[in-house]
């Protein structure tokens, strides 16, 4: 009887936790309530963990694990620089996936006489494992520790592992239904675990840095789905509800990101830019460089300025000087807006986070649909380390690999400054005709130094 009461209490508490998760996620979707939403969701998590911990098996293992995890997680969270947020999200996400991988592994022993349970375990191991090793690769790519090119031998090897892992999950799912697995099951099971991990590596390794916003969102979605499946295995409603919410939100972000690139998710994951027919744009003119002094003279007379940041701003850590420049321009009487493309940077909303860190008010940030119609009233558009998201080929050249992608149409502004380190093309490997336009001026150099140069011109 006592046991029953605890289970009942836990289930009631799980309902409350689920309500808090739902409320929390809803509030996360609005600027004004987002922070409270996160706290509410954390409170839901707290309740769920506490009531589960009432009747735990082994307090030392449980408490030890929680304390160790809490310590590591907190240290990482407090110390991480805002520019490193994309890789941190990838890493945490991978750990969630790994936890579900272990849960499913552990539950394998209970699945021997229950086919449905067995199928769930095999599936959950796959999703959790691929989420983990895939997220680790995403982490490596985003933090630029891992530099293995598409098409290299290693990449191709792991791509074959990915296909092998797909074959093996099919075999694991189907064989037991048509008369059992050959050989010793335990051996096969361990080989499966290894193949799943290698498969996750092969899944993410060939995907390029510019496509990372899509990959991160997708992995985020997968970790939620893995948790929901783990909930099915353990017959635990709160895992199912929370996991599904995460799975759904990740899926929506993935779709938004893919739309912002005008590509299908399948194309991003399995094809990449390289395979699209690249038509070399032959007509190129001369680029017109400009120095900080002349750029300042133009900016001083501008009454409307649009700042368009990209990955280059993140790399140069230039967000603080960018904010300073924005404020100086405003003091000078100019109307300053920031044009933010959804896939600028390496994860959804990457630029927004950096500018928020630099104290830029979020109502100054505008999306392409808002700024494009009034682009011809903009005196100066300052492009800071962005490339593909302002490439006019997307609207002008039907043959271009990025044709059809919604862009920030800065070429329609009166003057365009492009801050860039060199003339290399962007991630997509597509030449950018913007650089050769009549109204474009190139300000070469590190983004932070170039902006600092403008700022000191203003102060003199």
């Amino acid at each position: 009887m006592e046991n029953f009461d605890i289970t009942l209490l836990q289930n009631i508490a799980y309902i409350f936790a689920a309500i808090l998760f739902i409320t929390g996620i809803k509030m996360l979707g609005k600027e004004a309530t987002a922070q409270r939403g996160n706290v509410i969701s954390a409170f839901g998590m707290f309740i769920a963990i506490i009531v589960t911990a009432i009747n735990i098996v082994n307090p030392f293992v449980v408490l030890g694990g929680i304390l160790l995890g809490a310590f590591i997680g907190s240290v990482i969270a407090v110390r991480v620089k805002m520019t490193s947020i994309p890789e941190m999200v990838a890493l945490f996400n991978g750990f969630g996936g790994l936890a579900t991988f272990f849960i499913a592994w552990s539950e394998m022993v209970n699945a021997n006489d229950n086919l449905f349970q067995y199928l769930l375990v095999i599936l959950t191991i796959y999703i959790g494992g691929v989420t983990f090793s895939g997220s680790l690769i995403a982490f490596g790519k985003l933090s630029e520790r891992l530099k293995i090119g598409k098409g290299s031998l290693v990449t191709n090897l792991f791509i074959s592992f990915f296909y092998l892992s797909l074959i093996s999950i099919l075999a694991m799912l189907v064989l037991p239904m048509i008369g059992g697995l050959p050989f010793n099951f335990e051996t096969i099971f361990y080989i499966y675990l290894v193949l799943v991990m290698l498969g996750g590596v092969g899944f993410v390794l060939p995907i390029g840095g510019g496509d990372m916003p899509v990959v991160i969102s997708l992995l985020n979605s997968l970790s939620g789905i893995a948790a929901a499946f783990a909930g099915l295995i353990l017959v635990n409603n709160v895992l199912i509800v929370a996991g599904s919410l995460v799975g759904a939100s990740g899926l929506i972000l993935t779709i938004i990101m893919a739309k912002a690139m005008n590509r299908t998710i399948g194309n991003i994951l399995f094809v990449g830019y390289a395979a699209s027919s690249a038509s070399p744009s032959s007509e190129q003119g001369e680029v017109k460089p400009i120095n900080a002094e002349d750029a300042f003279l133009i900016l001083e007379n501008a009454s409307s300025v649009l700042i368009v940041p990209g990955y280059g701003m993140a790399v140069a850590q230039a967000q603080h000087v960018v904010r300073e420049l924005g404020e100086l321009l405003e003091e000078n009487g100019a109307d300053v807006k920031y044009g933010i493309h959804p896939v600028a940077g390496r994860m959804p909303g990457h630029m927004n986070v950096l500018l928020a860190e630099a104290n830029v008010s979020y109502d100054l940030l505008a999306e392409p649909d808002d700024v494009n119609p009034m682009m011809d009233t903009v005196d100066v558009a300052i492009v800071i380390g962005a490339n593909d998201v302002v490439n006019p080929s997307a609207t002008e050249e039907p043959g271009s690999p990025i044709y059809g992608m919604p862009i920030l149409e800065v070429a329609n502004a009166r003057t365009v400054f492009v801050l860039k380190r060199s003339m290399s093309s962007g991630f997509a490997g597509v030449q950018n005709p913007l650089f050769f336009k009549e109204n474009t001026r190139m300000l070469f150099g590190d983004a932070k130094e170039s902006i600092s140069g403008l700022v000191s011109e203003f102060k003199d």
Binding site: Q35, F92, F95, D363
Partner: protein
Amino acid sequence: MEIYILLGFVLILSIYLGLELISKVPSTLHTPLMSGANAISGIALVGALTLTQDTFLQTVIAFLAITFASINVFGGYLVTNRMLSMFKKK
């Protein structure tokens, strides 16, 4: 088998609910939303806590699951909170 049907209901309804909740989020909040959702996926911790620990292998697996899920939960919520505290309107 009946219990799985019931759980399947919960699964499907929750996914639909999630899709409805998130469908119109301003791009400013994409990163915090992702990071906050990521912290919620640390709910796997609740599952990890209920794992049986009869054998040594199971105990090790449970410990690892609990540890990694905890990193996900604590790290995820803290970093999301840190990020959101920077989002201000002036």
